[in-house]
Symmetry: C2
Subunit: 338 residues, 2 copies
DNA sequence: CAAAAACTGGCAATCGTTTGCCATACTAGG
DNA sequence: CCTAGTATGGCAAACGATTGCCAGTTTTTG
């Protein structure tokens, strides 16, 4: 009856409180709540009723100590600002929530040291890591994976679980598309050289371009942000290429803006392609042709892999497809235009 | 010398290991690391050296249990997808990191129950909550604030720390701007009615419109997303208004797209305004006139407030300003156009 | 009807750290 | 030289759960 106090006290209701009130031992109370069949139905229901009445909420920290399961998953991204990562985070969040876990987000700023610091900092607090576009060297990742569950996104390392969106095939589709439109001289506007996907994309692009008989040059690296656009656009144009392939959409949109400022018509004078199909790439002007991957699904799957454990270490590849929009068009011979 | 094992074992180095190796009690080891002046300089340095040598990392969970400080902050947003929240998260992350804390992100989907569930779930795992656009009733928020540190973003509740971007003043600026352009008939495309800022914005808009002698009608509510755009645009146009004010930029951009599809020229036939100045509002077409606030700063300040404690409960207002872009223009009399 | 099996509930150790308190040793003051 | 005061380090009790093991009490089985 000392119920009406609605007290100012901060102390939360613990299992001890429940046990005392129910007249049983803590161990029994614990089992009544988490291991139902281990305790007599009447006792169990009594304890559960008391717990409900008292508004008992288990202290997750205290639970985590003996069990080793914290119910937290960490997601490390190189740049929270990049809308690309938000699809990932959204998918991961959804799946984590469904599994009763919460998500810790950290921004590594694409810096190896910061990534390591976060890893150290969080190691004891989370059940596993999703590492998006990790910049850590292969062996460090392998070592890490030995001591805690890790799954890589858009990075492949032998022996470590990973999921990539198939940007190799995406690159093929880009080349195919551009060549079909008559482009023979292309420029790749590179992202950070520490990024695995930059290497992958460039490799695939150049191979397929070769195979298709097109010329492609690599410019950069540029900052993979809107702000990287101007520099990339100018360098790209100076190569004389008729199509610019940007490391990602952020850069591509930045390029588009710069071209607009300079009065260069897209796609009449130059075509532009990106990767990721981020928020905004469908309503920038012109809308961007880009390689889309199922990011939400990626987020969900990554969390799944993390929670499922990984005996045959999975190396998943999610398909991509080229979303053709207004930023690419047929190459115009110099005299054919206006 | 059994160092070279580089073992497969997962067990992390604990304080016990350090203490044993250093030949001191755990308590001494603990103090040597966290309360330096409590222990003799030689002992202290010896312990620290051992700790370093063994690569000791304190288990944050175990630390959190007795101290009550977890070093985690939770940020609850109604929609991770909304780029508006990116800025907030980015700012919060930066400040949290600077303070040695990590960030837990949860998506409430604008649903009261889910928000409550997350709150319950995380209460014991975090040092405090940043609640963005909370949908919880005032008294629940007050109760919550009594038992754990809470700071509200874009919501004001007596007795609870809060920070809002001044959308009241932003609304004034919108009206002033539109009226100056000759608009006298306006429509507000409302967001979720459970959203505090929707109420605020509408109140300020209608007051200022009245004062300026303009007519304004309220339509909706609409989903505050790109997908809400078509419905909002169509209803808005049916009112005969010459300017549409959307609850947020997401909705506004959706509206812009719909108007484009319907062949309605912006701003020639109708002007469009949004709130938030999200990523993309500067490169959609036409670029969106919108009320911008310092979101990054907001994120940082929110975390500051949370960590600082709050004796005179702070109620901060951050200034906003209207960023005029291409989506608003002078009202054209029917005959004056083409 | 006795013995074995199955149920229930409790004791106590454990997870890794922090921290109040006590004991010892050493320093300084009178 | 004795006493009061101050470093220094250790013991052990938290923090709030989980869980292995054991002891009673059923129930089942032959």
């Amino acid at each position: 009856m000392e119920n009406g106090v609605r007290s100012v006290r901060r102390r939360a209701v613990t299992l001890h409180d429940v046990a005392r009130r129910a007249g049983v031992a803590v161990s029994t109370a614990s089992r009544a709540l988490s291991d139902p069949q281990r305790v007599n139905v009447t006792t169990r229901e009594h304890v559960q009723a008391i717990a409900r009445e008292l508004g008992y909420r288990p202290n997750r920290l205290a639970q985590a100590l003996p069990t080793g399961r914290t119910g937290m998953l960490a997601v490390l991204v190189p740049d929270i600002t990049n809308p690309h990562n938000f699809g990932l985070v959204r998918g991961a969040e959804a799946q984590a929530r469904a599994a009763g876990s919460a998500l810790v987000i950290a921004d590594t700023q694409g810096a190896r040291e910061l990534e390591g610091a976060h890893l150290d900092r969080l190691a004891s607090s989370v059940d596993g890591f999703v590492l998006a576009s990790s910049r850590l060297p292969d062996d460090e990742l392998r070592t890490l994976a030995e001591r805690s569950p890790v799954v890589l996104f858009n990075r492949r390392v032998e022996g470590v679980a990973s999921l990539v969106t198939d940007s190799v095939d995406g690159s093929r589709q880009i080349i195919e598309h551009l060549v079909a439109l008559g482009h023979r001289s292309l420029a790749y506007l590179a992202g950070p050289s520490a990024a695995w996907s930059d290497v992958e994309r460039w490799r695939a692009l150049s191979e397929h371009a070769d195979a298709a008989g097109a010329r492609i040059v690599r410019c950069g690296p540029f900052a993979p942000t809107l702000d990287g656009g101007p520099a990339a656009a100018d360098v790209g144009m100076s190569t004389g290429a008729t199509a610019l392939i940007a490391f990602n959409d952020l850069l591509a949109i930045g390029v588009l803006r710069r071209l607009g400022e300079r009065g260069i018509a897209v796609p009449a004078q130059v075509s532009v392609v990106g990767y990721d199909d981020i928020f905004g790439s469908d309503f920038c002007s012109p809308p961007l042709t880009t390689v889309a991957g199922p990011v939400d699904e990626a987020g969900r799957t990554l969390v799944d892999v993390l929670l499922a454990g990984r005996d045959p270490v999975p190396a998943i590849t999610l398909p991509t497809h080229l979303r053709v929009r207004g930023s690419t068009g047929p190459v115009l011979s110099p005299g054919s235009g206006a």
